[in-house]
Symmetry: C2
Subunit: 579 residues, 2 copies
């Protein structure tokens, strides 16, 4: 993928940080510092919230925001991506551990999340070693859109219990909706007020606060960035309110005691016997996290003419996840919205992420007691407001207008995720989109051509007035041939031949063919032998050099004679119409 | 698929028999009569043998050779294909009913086989109604080869017990091998002698008998056809031997009493509650039978410039299988070797199959008592000798030389069938071959092009000496764009742009692009917006008419300005290098 004249030296290939560190300048530093602070302000409440979403204690989300991003800082190729806890990985962890029979709060639950991080890291490193970054390409845009929309719905549903104070068992969407309907009157008043109030404030503050600030003379950009501080502002406000008004005594669930400091590094996940059943889910978490990360990294890189190395990203995210496991936390990835904030705040290099990690680390070491009275409902509101934009109606609308096959992929993935779960739904969507593509590719462009009179140009006989010959048929194959489209060629030739009783020679014009697989070779051999018995000789013309080299290895050329391989169509026509 | 000027009238489309009946001639009749008789001679022992292979009483195979082929005679589009019991469908029936906990000989076992025929028939009719004949294209040649080779091995193993008289429990390959090794000394002498003797005779008679006959002045073709009578000859010889020498008293298992006559038509399968668990296996049986049938039908049609309608074949085989269910027998398909014999014996139309059905029907009605002393070991030998040629080492060798990806598909399918079973192995092979194809297709041909000096021709800059411009880049996209290859384009552009700091304009030359899916559109939009922020304008040139129509429905054209859509590359170069 990299070009000869732009491959970085080996040291930089493994530690891309050396690239930007070498030319680091003062102006860049101040931009990175600002961005790092703003991202940290966003990350502290978000990190705790995503840990809760995963069914884990809030501090685990803070741990995930310290060491893993530092490993990415050194090894990642994106300049502005923010690695840490992300919502989709969090809900996948929750779903996985629930289906393997763990209950949030169990001793094994955290160990399971750590093991998922370790296995995800190992899977990413393995894919990186095999240079399989292109695996992400199997995920089409409509499938990804359907998946994230459904995941966002599931995430929102999972937070409604915390938001309202209604005691809901964790479960699927339907059970949540049913539980809400049945127990609507059990909502805790103060919790509901805090939850709904925070949600409305988070939605409202984005627009009006930004407008207010910019009307007071602040630049639009700066005002929008300050709007990003809204979550932390609301955390401080509501925590203070709960502490001073003793709302916890009225039934408002709070975060409670959070141990200060980072956990001791551990390798205990190595002896966790659950790895067999967590291997496949870990692979899914790794894959989805990787796709999310690379998407955002590409979007950001394009804006500044920078490059992403998808295979090095596998390595960097693999190391970050191993780092997550060693420091006792959940799987991580590059978060979409957080990275956009980091970029918009001016992050030029991963130095910004270093600042963020130091700040979150500081909070984790000394400031966690301050969050004792932080209401769970506020975290739920933060989660709901951050994932709601993932519900992507634009792509539904656009795909409906553009291509019904894409709409079907999107709808099946969305429905699949809601009905059979996040992982099953995604697998279904990927398989369906690949099948739909194959289905379409099974009808290659093939044209009967004839000569434009007085020239050596050959054109489609159905679109142009051209010369044809009763004893000679020229068939232009416009695409590479492989097992799924060879049968169409076979059928096309059978129909064309059945209509032309005088036919003696058939020439395949192969210039547009870049590749032929063994099944297609067999089809061509079958055609050659079968048509010979029917008195028709098959010839080839304009075969590309690399394809000709491959054909030498097959039986096709030995079965062809008396059929010939002509260099040009004109040569074939001259030879076969003189006879 | 059919051409305007060759579409048959509607009556013939549904009853293709009307086509050949209308022009039926005396010469054709005598050819069809010979072929019908020869195929019947082959079919009687083969039909009984395949029923035994499926774990069913031998007469069930005779039933499958009467009514189902008659339905195909009326509705099929192949002139020489012989529909009836086939080995692969038989082993699939045995495997399916074994895994659903049935034991051969149980009352429910035959009912299960009948239900499988009914469900297969329904599945084929459904696919036919949806015009989904192209589904067969998903089965690549190497996957089919690996599948049939492994199926042949499993079939041979399943017959070793009957062949040797060693009492083996039906089971997988490993248990059979283990059982043979353990109980080798329990072989029944007379059975072993009959079984091995018949096997050797069947193999030996093919060559020497044919040579002998042709040396005596018989034509090579006729001698070979007479060689086809060898199975019936051996059936008569060994049956007489057992009856006269009372070998059954020495432990030679015989077919025993076969009820004469055809069974009453029944619809009892409609109320069989097992349909839920048999639905998926029935679909597999239908699919595999269909692929086998269409392959042989195409091979035969090609030799006589005839046409096959793959969708009508779905209907015809669907009706044949429903007919099989109603007449109380197992699933049917077009048999490969039997159809080749029918063709070689001179069959011109399905009238030959009508003769065959009448002859087998006659045997079934009146002659079944004659088979009382027919040894099971002889049927086992017939099965083994007919399926042994399915072990296809040629394709292994050829794929190894031609394409390792194809070899991998073949090997995985073969191993998968042996390890996880016939159906699982086939699904594995199909998924793998599709994935390998997608993997390869994920790297589309893309070239940077420049102008051949003094002309308006544009060529790859890496292959030709051409003019280029520092502020303008021309990228020719040589294939249709879709989700799996769009990321490669993205990466290619990112690399090209990162190396060219003076770049201001980028033009995509789209002439070879036949289709763009929504994911690729999103990639192009992302490139356009991202590169604009980097000071580069994206343009399009040479967009094909139908593609342009689709682009009108997308956001790409609204995001493009100030980028433009140029008719020709030259026009783009003129406009963008003057500025």
């Amino acid at each position: 993928m990299t070009h000869r004249n732009s491959t970085p030296p080996p040291s930089e290939q493994w530690l891309p940080a050396l690239g930007w560190l070498r030319n680091y300048r003062r102006a860049t530093f101040s931009a990175d510092l600002t961005a790092g602070v703003i991202t940290a302000i966003l990350l502290v409440p978000q990190g705790m919230a995503y840990a809760v979403l995963a069914g884990l204690p809030p501090e685990v989300g803070l741990y995930a925001s310290v060491v893993p991003p530092l490993l990415y800082v050194l090894t990642g190729t994106s300049r502005a991506m923010s690695v840490g806890p992300v919502s989709v990985a969090a809900i996948l962890v929750a779903e996985t551990l629930a289906t393997t029979g763990q209950t949030a709060g169990d001793e094994n639950y955290l160990a399971g999340a750590i093991l998922l991080a370790a296995l995800s890291g190992a899977a990413l490193l393995l894919l990186g070693a095999l240079r399989l970054g292109a695996l992400a390409n199997f995920l089409s845009h409509p499938v990804l859109s359907g998946f994230t929309s459904a995941a966002a719905l599931i995430i929102i549903a999972s937070q409604l219990g915390n938001l309202t104070g209604i005691p809901l068992a964790r479960g699927d969407l339907w059970r949540t909706v049913e539980g809400l309907a049945t127990h609507a009157l059990d909502a805790n008043g103060p919790t509901l007020a805090l939850g709904v109030g925070t949600t409305l404030a988070l939605i409202g503050l984005r627009g009006p606060l930004v407008r207010l600030l910019s009307r007071r003379g602040m630049s639009q950009d700066k005002a929008q960035l300050l709007g990003r501080a809204a979550p932390l502002l609301l955390v401080i406000l509501t925590t203070t309110a709960v502490a001073t008004l003793h709302l916890d005594a009225l039934g408002v669930a709070t975060v409670g005691e959070i141990p200060a400091g980072l956990p001791q590094p551990t390798l205990s996940f190595l002896t966790n016997p659950a790895w067999r059943e967590l291997l496949l889910p870990a692979f899914m978490i790794a894959f989805i996290g990787y796709v999310e990360s690379v998407s955002v990294a590409k979007v950001l890189a394009r804006k500044r003419r920078q490059k992403i190395d998808p295979n090095q990203e596998l390595v960097a995210l693999g190391l970050s996840n191993l780092g997550a496991a060693v420091t006792g936390t959940m799987p991580v990835a590059g978060g979409f919205s957080r990275s956009m904030v980091n970029f918009a705040a001016g992050a030029q290099t991963q130095f910004a992420a270093l600042i963020t990690a130091i700040l979150v680390g500081t909070v984790t070491l000394w400031l966690t007691p301050w969050f004792y009275y932080l209401p769970q409902a506020v975290l739920a509101a933060i989660i709901i407001v951050s994932v709601a934009p993932l519900i992507d109606l634009d792509t539904v609308r656009e795909s409906w207008r553009y291509d019904r096959a894409d709409t079907m992929s999107l709808a099946i993935t969305f429905g699949g995720v809601l009905v059979v779960g996040l992982e099953g739904g995604l697998v279904l969507g990927v398989l369906l989109s690949v099948a739909l593509y194959q289905w379409r590719a099974a009808k290659p462009h093939i044209a009967l051509v004839g000569r434009v009179p007085g020239t050596e140009h050959y054109r489609n006989i159905h679109r142009h007035r051209v010369e044809t010959w009763p004893e000679l048929l020229l068939i232009r194959i416009d695409e590479s041939l492989y097992f799924a489209n060879a049968a169409y060629l076979d059928q096309f030739v059978a129909n064309a031949v059945a209509e032309r009783p005088q036919l003696r020679h058939l020439v395949f014009l192969m210039n547009p063919v870049n590749h032929i697989d063994l099944s297609a070779i067999e089809t061509l051999i079958g055609l050659t032998i079968g048509l010979r018995e029917a008195g028709i000789t098959v010839h080839l013309a304009e075969v590309k050099g690399p394809v000709m080299d491959r054909l030498q290895e097959s039986h096709l050329l030995t079965e062809l004679p008396p059929g010939r391989v002509f260099l040009s169509t004109e040569e074939a026509v001259q030879a076969l119409t003189q006879a």
